[in-house]
């Protein structure tokens, strides 16, 4: 194993460029890949299927995510250990790094690109930083759970009108923070949204925020055009009369899968993808799948949904046709198929296969594997096109 890791590093070192010189090129077809066990990140050219740089020293990346600056040059990486790192992907270097909390879960960039918000479990709250130098702009502690602990924050996203939205796991709240005046964050709190929200998502247009609930069936929906109306519970009966299975990995809602007027969501504790009609948010159907979904992601044109699964079924990916609502392909890419990322126009999808130390690239028309790249225990894959998408 150690030898393999060594060979892999040597290979990457050989294929990557020395970090001293910066590239002169556009970044629109670039991306980054988190190497979770090594605390490193690869910068990739997604069209050439090539690694450009490998950057080390980012701390604990066991649950890492990333957002991009509006010019697609800088990536902000949120590490598990509270590390917030700003990378220059053209130079393959770390420009700034702060350890801002003890235990974090992700972050978001503001609509104008000037602020970075980080969601923290410990100490519970959200901290907001300047995107240019990572200096602290605002600190928003959450509701106290007891004398020692504050609620953990989950599902932090950016929203139109310079807002951030997130939920409080322990106390079942959704908060909206308006950062129009960075010196005076305006906080609107929605309480009793439901039990144990575990993640949240926002629709591409920035109108609806939805928190998934672990403690009960259903999801809490907030219409950000009318936040004063508060949240309402949708799909609250979806698990009724069915045995809820043990959950070996919490689903992720970030990859909002919207195809036409339908949304596709992971059924927590069920081997199902839930389909719901946008607008009234009534359930359409449930699609039986191979395991408990983790990511349910739409190909950008909305024709297919790609799903990966929780342990012990994380060696499988299924593709659903959004017209027939049938599974049309079951792939066995290898153990630890953790994350998928589509090319912005959808012709390819990259999948990280943790236990194979491999990135796989599939043609989404033929559903065939067309390329592989080495990576050390890869997890999250983030292409620069996210820079222009609300909620990503």
């Amino acid at each position: 194993m150690r030898l393999m890791r060594y060979l892999l590093s040597a290979l990457l070192l050989y294929s990557g460029q020395a970090s001293a010189e910066c590239l002169t090129r556009g970044t629109g077809d670039m991306g980054i890949v988190i190497e979770r066990a090594d605390g490193s990140v690869q910068v990739v050219d997604r069209r050439a299927h090539k690694s450009l740089f490998r950057i080390e020293g980012l701390g604990d990346l066991s649950h890492a995510s990333a957002v991009y600056s509006p010019d697609e040059r800088y990536a902000y990486i949120f590490g598990r250990d509270g590390g917030l790192t700003r990378l220059d992907i053209l130079c393959g270097t770390i420009t700034h790094r702060v350890v801002q909390g003890g235990n974090s879960i992700g972050g978001a960039i503001s609509q104008d690109g000037n602020l970075i918000a980080v969601s923290n479990y410990e100490p519970g709250g959200v901290k907001i930083f300047s995107a240019s130098d990572l200096s602290l702009v605002a600190d928003i502690p959450t509701t106290a759970v007891n004398s020692e602990k504050r609620a953990k924050t989950v599902g932090l996203v950016d929203a139109p009108d310079q807002r951030f939205v997130f939920s409080l796991y322990d106390t079942g709240e959704t908060w909206i923070v308006d950062m129009t005046d960075p010196a005076n964050p305006a906080i609107q709190k929605h309480k009793e949204i439901g039990q144990l929200p575990y993640d949240g998502l926002i629709t591409r247009d920035g109108r609806y925020y939805i928190a998934g609930l672990f403690g009960q069936d259903g999801l809490a929906l907030l219409d950000l055009w009318y936040p004063e109306k508060g949240t309402r519970l949708i799909l609250k009966d979806y698990g009724k009369g069915e045995q809820k299975l043990p959950v070996y990995k919490m689903p992720h809602l970030e990859g909002w899968a919207m195809a036409g007027n339908r949304a596709f969501l992971p059924g927590v504790g069920h081997h199902q993808v839930l389909v719901v009609e946008r607008g009234e948010w009534n359930p359409v159907t449930k699609i039986p799948v191979y395991g408990q979904p983790v990511f349910v992601m739409a190909r950008p044109d909305g024709r297919q949904i790609w799903v990966n699964f929780a342990f012990p079924d994380n060696d499988t990916i299924q593709v659903i046709d959004t017209e027939s609502l049938q599974v049309i392909k079951t792939l066995k890419p290898g153990k630890g198929a953790l994350h998928m990322e589509f090319a912005p126009r959808g012709e390819e999808v990259w999948i990280s296969i943790r236990d194979k130390n491999e990135l796989q690239v599939y043609d989404t028309r033929s559903l065939e594997l067309i390329h592989t790249l080495p990576a050390a225990n890869p997890s999250g894959i983030f292409f620069t096109s996210r820079a222009h998408t609300t909620g990503l």
């Binding site: 066991s62 598990r80 990995k249």
Partner: protein, 107 residues
């Protein structure tokens, strides 16, 4: 004298059988540590310093005994997101994992 020898033999045998029942082959130990790091780690943190679930450091687990921890792994904790790992981990393996955690292992 004979009685003493019998007693000592009994104690030794008991000791051996306890070791045998708790024995986890090296290959399986590696699998369990991989599970601990990546799958337990998805809630408790890959370095076991906590996430949506609590930290599993020796300090955090100090108030709990091996039996309690092993049972928690096997049965899960109703009312919390902690699932039962019985389908994937045998009882003696859970005890071994609990011992590793109490000793402060970082997979």
């Amino acid at each position: 004298m004979t009685r003493t020898i019998v007693a000592i033999t009994a104690i030794l045998l008991a000791g051996i059988s306890a070791v045998v029942s708790a024995e986890v082959p090296l290959q399986r130990q590696a699998e369990l540590l991989h599970l601990l790091k990546h799958d337990c780690g998805s809630c408790h943190g890959m370095r076991l310093e906590g996430g949506l679930g609590p930290a599993l450091t020796a300090q955090r687990l100090a108030p709990y005994g091996i039996d309690f921890l092993a049972l928690t792994i096997i049965q899960g904790r109703p009312g919390t997101p902690m699932p039962p790992w019985r389908p994937f981990v045998a009882e003696h393996e859970a005890r071994w994992l609990a011992q590793q955690l109490k000793q402060g292992i970082r997979p």
